[in-house]
Symmetry: C2
Subunit: 774 residues, 2 copies
C-alpha cells in the first residue's frame, strides 16, 4: 500500500479504522467493568423463558421430522419399503437414499465423503430414512412403519481388538485409521539417565456428549433461500457445511443460533440431521423441526473416545524428569474423527523433559464417530501423566507439588523452535493453589486421620495441565454501532454457548467506551446479519472475540473523535474520549458531549469495525492450571465422597469473576464424570449395540456427586503479549487435570492406583480386596 | 485530519474505505444489470405467502390489543369505569389514562406534546383506553364494555368555517394554526403587465390513506428490551419516536419491518397505537399484537388534507406568464400536521414567472390529524395551477403543451439564490410525451368526433409537474459482505415499502461487483442488525440508498484489491476487479480468482461500508413529469371513461423498467382517485363524524375505473451530478399532475371547468345541466 492511499468517508471525513491496538502500550492496566462479577446480560431471558432456543422455535405451518436409523452396528440396506408408512396419517414426506431429493448428496467425515443415506451402515444409529409429518408422533410412527431389509454384517466394537487378525473390517482399507509418532531427544538415553523408571497402562472410558439441549434444528425455505435455526457452537460452520452438502451459495443459507443449550464440542459442526431436515423442508414446502432424541444423540452426535495409554517414565532422585515414553490408542468410531487425537500432548509438552517419544493410533470400530469433547485428548493424557507424576513423586519421596514445580517449562518443547510462552502461570497455579488448599497442613492431618482405625479414609491429590490452545486468534470481525443517543449495539458472529460470551463482550465494549454495559445490546450468531466468526470452542472464544470487540470499540472511538474534531475545530489527535464527552486534551477548554456531535446526529449512527489481530509470531499463548481435591473413601462400600475441590487457573485476565467461577465449577463436575461415573457401554461381544443410551444408565455426575466446597483461584499474570485484553482461554483447562487429581487423592486414601476410569465403588472394593489379599 | 492518520486493518492491511465515488468520472456510462426489467428479488415470497408482514407475525403466547376510541369529535373524558370489562373472559390488561403504565407518557404532534391518553379528545377516534385479551374478539368486547362518561363539546368539522367568529375552538389558542406567505417580484406589477388575467377558486377533497395492510404492530419485551414488528416506512423513525415516548435508550428498542403492505406517508412514523401496544405487552408480560381496523385507520392514521385554492394568473398574449397569486387553506386536523403544507410549491416553482405571491393557512378542525400523503401538497397545487394554465392557453389560443414549453424554468426560482437544476427534463417530458401521445393528431380527431351528434364526448388533457424533493441525500449507511465463496449479503436499514427497493439495490450491487443479482441476499429494515436509514418516502429511497449501496460495493472491491495485492505481490493500485477475478492491469499476466484470495478465505468475509455522500452544493435535484390522458364522457349519465393515460417522467436513470412502470401506473391510479372518486365525508353540520369509514363508502378507484391503456415513457437524461447512480426520485411525481390532466381532458370533452375534485358523475351532469341552462 502506498501512502497516497487515503481513505475517506464519503462525507469528507477520513475514516478511522481499527488501529493497531493489540500489544499496544494502552494495554488496560486498570479496568473498572472488565473483571467485575457482572451477572449475565441475558440472565433474565434465560431464567424467564423468554430466551428462544432452536428447540423453542415455533413457526406457522411447521411440521416435524424424524429419522429412521440403523439398529445394527454393521449392516447393508438391501431394500426399503415405504408404501405403508406413506399412507399413514399426517405424513407429508419420506426420504430415503432412493429419493430424488437425496440423490448425489454427500456427507463429509473429515477426508472421507459418503452418501448422505449410505446403504452401508457402519454404526448403530446411521441414517436410513426420514419422515416429515404434522406431529412428531405421526412422524415417529411412520418411521417405525418403514420396512427395511438389512444384510447384517460382522462388527467390531472393542477398539482394543479392532486391529486383531480376523477382526471385522469397518472400512475396506482396514481398521487402522492413522498412526502418528513424535520424538525428541533420545528416549533410550533418557531412560538410561534415570534413577528410577516406572511403567503403567491407563484406560479412560468413552464419554458421551450430554448437552442439556438436544441436537437438532428447524429448517425453512423461501424459494432458493434456506434458513436454519440450529443448536450450534458456530453458525458459520453450519452454513459452510450445509452449503457444501446442498451446493448452495453461502448467501442463500442463513443460520441462526442465538441461544443454544450446550455443545461441548459436539455442536462445532452440524450433523446429517441438518441436511435431512433441510431436504424435508424443501420437499414439503413447510418449515420442519427435527430434534434428535437423547437416544439418537448418544448413538451418533459424538463422543470422547476411550483410550488405552502406556506410559513409561524415567526420573532422577532430585526430581528431574529424564524420559517419557507414551503410547496410546483410541477409536474414531466408524469414520475418521480423531480417536487418539491430542491424547499425547501433555506427555509431549507439560513438563520439562529432554527425551520424549509418543505414538498414537486411531482405530475404526462400528460405533458412532467421535467428535471433539471439551479439551480433546487432554483429560485422557492427564489421567495417565498426572498419575504417573504422582507415582514417581511417591517413589522418590518427594512432594508431588514439589516434583511438578521442579519440571515447569517456560517454552513449548513440542513445537518447532521451542517458542516461549507469553506467560507460564503453572508455577503460580501450583504454589498459590497449594497455599490456598493448605496442602502441607492437610497432608499431616490426613496422615493422622488415616492412621486411626475406621473404614473412612481420606486423601488429597493434585493434578496439573496446560491446554494446547487457548490463545484464540483471527479471524473474527465485529461491528459496534453507537446510536445517536450514545447507546450501543454490538454485532458479533460468535455463539454464546452458555459460557457468558455475550456478557464478557458487553463488558469489553463498555470498558473501552466508558458506557454502562446495560445500554449495550448484542446481536450475535446469525450468518445473515452478524459478522464472520469461527465456532465457539477450543477455549478460544474470549481470547478471539474480546480483542476484536475492543478493536471495534477503539475504531468507533476514533470515528467519533474525527466527527467531534469538526465541531470543536481542533485536530482529532488532540482530542480525547472520556466516556460521554470528548475533550480537548490540551487544556480541556473545548469539549462536546458525545450525543451532541453533529455528524453523529446527522448520520444517525457511528460504527466501528474490529478485526482480530494476529497472535505473537514467535511465542505461544497457552493457559495453565492445577486442581487440588480432597476425598473420603468408604473402604467397605467403595463409595467416594469428594470433600472439596480447588481449581487454580492461569487464564490471563479474569474477564468476569462470575462466569470464571461458573467455568471452573462446571469443568470440575465434568472431570468428576470422567473420573468416577461416565462410560459408554457397548455390548462388545454379542450385539455391538449401545447399552446405556439414556440418563438412567449413562451416569452423569449429579448434585450428590459434586463437592459442596468447590472454590476457584485465578492466577492473573499480566500478559500484554497474548492479546489486547490479556485474556487466555478457560473453558477447557478447567476439566483437564480434574480426574487425575481425584485418582491421586484416592491413592493417598487407599494406597491403590486406579488406572482405569471411571472409578466406580465396585472398582474400589474390588481393588481394595485384591490389595488385602495381595 | 493529518496525513499521518493512516488507518490499518488490525491485520496490517490498510483498510480501503468508501472512496469519493459520487460525481466521479466513473459514473456508469453503460450498465448491464441496472436498468433491466428484472423481476423483484422477493417476487416469490410475495406471491407464495412466505413473506412475513407484521400482520402475519405469530408469537407463542401472543395476545391481542384493542383500543377504545372517542366516538365524539370533541369531548372530555370525565370518568372511565373498567370494572365490568376487567372481569370479562380472556382479559389480561386494561390501560387508561389513570393507569400507572400510562402516567407521564406523552405523544408528540410536531411541536405539540399531549398526554398519550388525553382526556380532552379533539377528534373522533382519539384513544381513550386499551385492552389486551387472549383473542381479538375478547379484547374488542371488553373495550366496548368499558363505560366512559364524556362531556360533549362543540365541534368544528368544516375547515372553511373554522376561522369564523363563534366557531368551536379545537385548541385554546384558536383554530388558525399557521399562516405562511411567499413573494417574489411584485405581484401588482406582474398583473399589470399581463394581457389577460384569470382568477379561479379550486377545491380538492380530503383523501384517506388506504394501504392494503392496516396499521399496527406486534410488541414484545425481554426484560428491559422491546422488540416491535411494525408495518412501517422506516424502522429507525419508529425506534426514535418510541424511545422518546417510553424514555428508553435506542439500543433497547428493536424495530423490524421486513415486509409491509403500503404506507403512502401514513407509516413514516408510528402511532399512539405503537406505544399502547408496547405498554400492554409490558403490563402483561406477553407479546401483544395490535392491528387497527380499517375504520380506525380512516379515523386517525392520517389523510391528505382538503384544500381551497384561489389562483389569479396574468399572462401575455405570447404565452409569457407575468403573475401568479395563490392563496390556499387546508386543515391539519385537531393537531399540527401540515394542513396546507407545500400546496403552493408548484405555483412558486413550476413555471418561469417573475411575480409570484402565495399564502397558505393551516387550520384546526375536530378531525384526525393529517399526515404526509404521496407528494404532500403537490397534487392539490397541480389541480389548481395546471387547470389554470389550461384555461390561460385556451383564452390566448395557444396549445396547452406549447404554453407550458414556453415557461419552462432551468432554475428553482423559489429557492434562495435560484440554484439551477442538475437536469430539467420537463421540456423533454412535454415534447416526447406529446409525440408519443399523438397529441396534435388526437386533437383533430377529437374535434371531429365532438362535432358529431351523440352523448359521448371526448377530450384530451395534459398536466405537468416537478416534485420539490427527489434527490435523496445523506444520511444512509450500507454494509455489503462478501462470503468466501463470492456470494453477497447486503445490509441496509431502509424499508422496501412495496416499490422494489430491494430489487433495485441488488441490481446496483450486482452491477458494481459484476455478480449475479441472484447471489445477493438482502437484510433490511431492522434497527438491531442493519444500518441507519431514514424512512422510505419523499421519492428519495432510490436516490439515497442506491448511491450508498454503490459506495459500499466500491469499498468492498477496494478491500478485495488490497487483499489480492498480497497474493499477487503487486501494488493494489495496479490491480483491477473484473467480476470474479482480480487482474494485474499492466499486462494481465498476474491474476487471481476472487474466491482464491487468501485473506478473504482466512477472514471468512470481506466487507465494504458505504455512506451516502452529499448532494451538489449549489444545484437542485428535482424530478419532472407530464401526464397525458384521453377521456370519454357520457353527457347523459355523467360517467367518465378514461381511454388512455401516458405518464412521462424525468426521474434520471431508470433503475429497473418493471418497477418504474409499476410506480407510474400506481401513481396514475392514485391520481384518478383524487380526480374522480376519493373524498372523506365528515358530517360537518350535525355530528362532526366520519360518514364513510369503510371501503364501501370511501370510493377508491377499482379496476373498472382504471384505463386499460396505461403507458409510461422515461426521459433518461444523463445526470452525473445528481449522485453516482444518476437516479432521481419517482414515487411521487407519478401522481402529481394526474388529476389535473384529467380535469383538462374533461374540459375539452364538456366545455366545463371542474374546479372541485372529485368529479363525480353527479357533478358532471349537474354542471352540464347548469351550462345548458346558462
Amino acid at each position: 500500500m502506498t501512502s497516497n492511499d487515503k481513505i475517506y468517508y464519503r462525507e469528507g471525513i477520513p475514516v478511522p479504522e481499527t488501529p493497531a491496538a493489540e500489544n499496544s502500550p494502552d494495554f488496560w492496566k486498570k479496568t473498572t467493568i472488565v473483571g467485575k462479577a457482572l451477572p449475565r446480560v441475558d440472565a433474565y431471558d434465560r431464567v424467564s423463558g423468554t430466551a428462544l432456543f432452536p428447540s423453542d422455535i415455533l413457526l406457522p405451518n411447521m411440521i416435524y421430522g424424524v429419522i429412521l436409523r440403523s439398529p445394527h452396528p454393521h449392516a447393508r440396506v438391501k431394500r426399503i419399503d415405504i408404501a405403508e408408512a406413506q399412507k399413514m396419517q399426517g405424513v407429508r414426506a419420506i426420504i430415503t437414499g432412493e429419493s430424488a431429493e437425496a440423490k448425489g448428496i454427500t456427507w463429509q467425515y473429515r477426508d472421507q465423503q459418503v452418501p448422505l443415506f449410505d446403504p452401508h451402515c457402519r454404526f448403530e444409529g446411521e441414517v436410513v430414512a426420514a419422515v416429515a409429518a404434522d406431529t412428531w408422533y405421526q412422524a415417529s410412527d411412520a418411521a417405525r412403519a418403514i420396512k427395511v431389509d438389512y444384510e447384517i454384517l460382522a462388527f467390531v466394537a472393542d477398539y482394543e481388538k479392532a486391529l486383531d487378525e480376523g477382526a471385522a473390517r469397518v472400512q475396506d482399507k482396514g481398521n487402522l485409521l492413522n498412526e502418528e509418532t513424535y520424538e525428541r531427544g533420545d528416549i533410550k538415553k533418557g531412560l538410561a539417565q534415570a534413577d528410577l523408571v516406572l511403567e503403567e497402562t491407563y484406560h479412560t472410558p468413552c464419554e458421551l456428549h450430554t448437552p442439556l439441549e438436544l441436537h437438532g434444528c428447524v429448517a425453512n425455505w423461501e424459494r432458493d433461500r434456506l434458513t436454519i435455526w440450529e443448536s450450534s457452537q458456530g453458525v458459520y460452520a453450519v452454513q459452510a457445511k450445509i452449503a457444501q452438502a446442498l451446493a448452495l451459495p453461502l448467501s442463500k443459507i442463513r443460520v441462526k443460533g442465538h441461544y443454544m443449550g450446550g455443545g461441548f464440542g459436539s455442536k462445532l459442526s452440524p450433523g446429517k440431521y441438518t441436511v435431512i431436515c433441510s431436504l424435508l423442508a424443501k420437499k414439503t414446502g413447510r418449515p420442519v423441526k427435527l430434534l434428535l432424541s437423547r437416544e439418537e444423540t448418544y448413538l451418533c452426535v459424538g463422543n470422547r473416545p476411550a483410550t488405552t495409554m502406556r506410559l513409561k517414565a524415567g526420573i532422577k532422585k532430585d526430581g528431574t524428569l529424564t524420559a517419557l515414553e507414551f503410547e496410546c490408542s483410541g477409536p474414531s468410531g466408524a469414520y475418521p474423527a480423531g480417536g487418539a487425537q491430542l491424547v499425547d500432548w501433555l506427555a509431549r509438552d507439560l513438563y520439562q523433559c529432554d527425551h520424549v517419544r509418543t505414538s498414537s493410533k486411531d482405530v475404526l470400530i462400528n460405533a458412532g464417530p467421535a467428535r471433539p469433547f471439551r479439551a480433546p485428548g487432554h483429560p485422557q493424557g492427564a489421567w495417565a501423566l498426572e498419575q504417573m507424576i504422582d507415582a514417581l513423586a511417591a517413589e522418590i519421596g518427594m512432594d508431588p507439588v514439589e516434583l511438578r514445580l521442579k519440571n515447569i517449562p517456560l517454552r513449548s518443547q513440542a513445537r518447532a523452535e521451542n517458542p516461549p510462552y507469553t506467560t507460564t502461570g503453572l508455577r503460580q497455579c501450583l504454589e498459590e493453589g497449594a497455599k490456598e488448599f493448605k496442602w502441607q497442613a492437610t497432608l499431616k492431618e490426613i496422615r493422622n486421620h488415616n492412621r486411626k482405625e475406621g473404614h473412612r479414609k481420606r486423601g488429597i491429590g493434585v493434578g496439573a495441565c496446560l491446554w494446547i490452545a487457548g490463545g484464540g486468534g483471527p479471524p473474527s470481525t465485529v461491528i459496534l454501532k453507537m446510536y445517536k443517543d450514545g447507546s450501543i449495539n454490538l454485532n458479533m458472529g460468535a455463539s454464546d454457548i452458555g459460557t457468558g460470551t455475550k456478557t464478557v463482550m458487553a463488558q469489553v465494549a463498555a470498558e473501552e467506551l466508558g458506557v454502562n454495559p446495560q445500554v449495550i445490546q448484542i446481536e450475535h450468531a446469525d450468518t445473515a446479519t452478524t459478522q464472520f466468526a469461527t465456532p465457539s470452542g477450543g477455549s478460544k472464544t474470549v481470547p478471539t472475540e474480546a480483542p476484536t470487540v475492543r478493536n471495534a470499540a477503539i475504531s468507533l472511538k476514533r470515528a467519533l473523535l474525527a466527527m467531534a474534531a469538526e465541531d470543536l475545530e481542533v485536530a482529532m489527535e488532540e482530542l480525547e474520549y472520556v466516556g460521554d464527552e470528548i475533550v480537548w486534551s490540551k487544556d480541556r477548554t473545548k469539549k462536546i458531549k458525545v450525543t451532541d456531535v453533529s455528524r453523529l446526529n446527522r448520520r444517525g449512527e457511528v460504527i466501528g469495525v474490529g478485526y482480530r489481530g494476529p497472535n505473537p509470531a514467535d511465542k505461544v499463548v497457552n493457559p495453565f492450571a492445577a486442581h487440588f481435591c480432597e476425598v473420603e473413601v468408604n473402604t467397605l462400600t467403595g463409595e467416594i465422597e469428594i470433600l472439596r475441590f480447588l481449581g487454580v487457573h492461569d487464564s490471563g485476565r479474569v474477564m468476569n469473576r462470575l462466569t470464571f467461577d461458573n467455568q471452573v465449577y462446571g469443568g470440575i463436575v465434568m472431570g468428576i464424570g470422567l473420573g468416577l461415573t461416565e462410560c459408554r457401554q457397548l455390548d462388545e461381544s454379542q450385539t455391538g449395540k449401545l447399552c446405556n443410551k439414556n440418563w438412567h444408565d449413562y451416569k452423569l455426575p449429579t448434585a450428590l456427586d459434586v463437592p459442596q466446597a468447590m472454590t476457584s483461584l485465578a492466577v492473573e499474570l499480566d500478559d500484554p503479549e497474548c492479546n489486547n485484553t490479556g485474556a487466555k482461554g478457560l473453558g477447557e483447562p478447567v476439566t483437564i487435570p480434574t480426574a487425575a487429581a481425584l485418582a491421586n487423592a484416592l491413592y493417598m486414601a487407599t494406597g491403590v492406583r486406579f488406572t482405569r476410569a471411571p472409578i466406580s465403588p465396585m472398582a474400589v472394593t474390588r481393588e481394595l480386596s485384591k490389595k488385602k489379599k495381595g
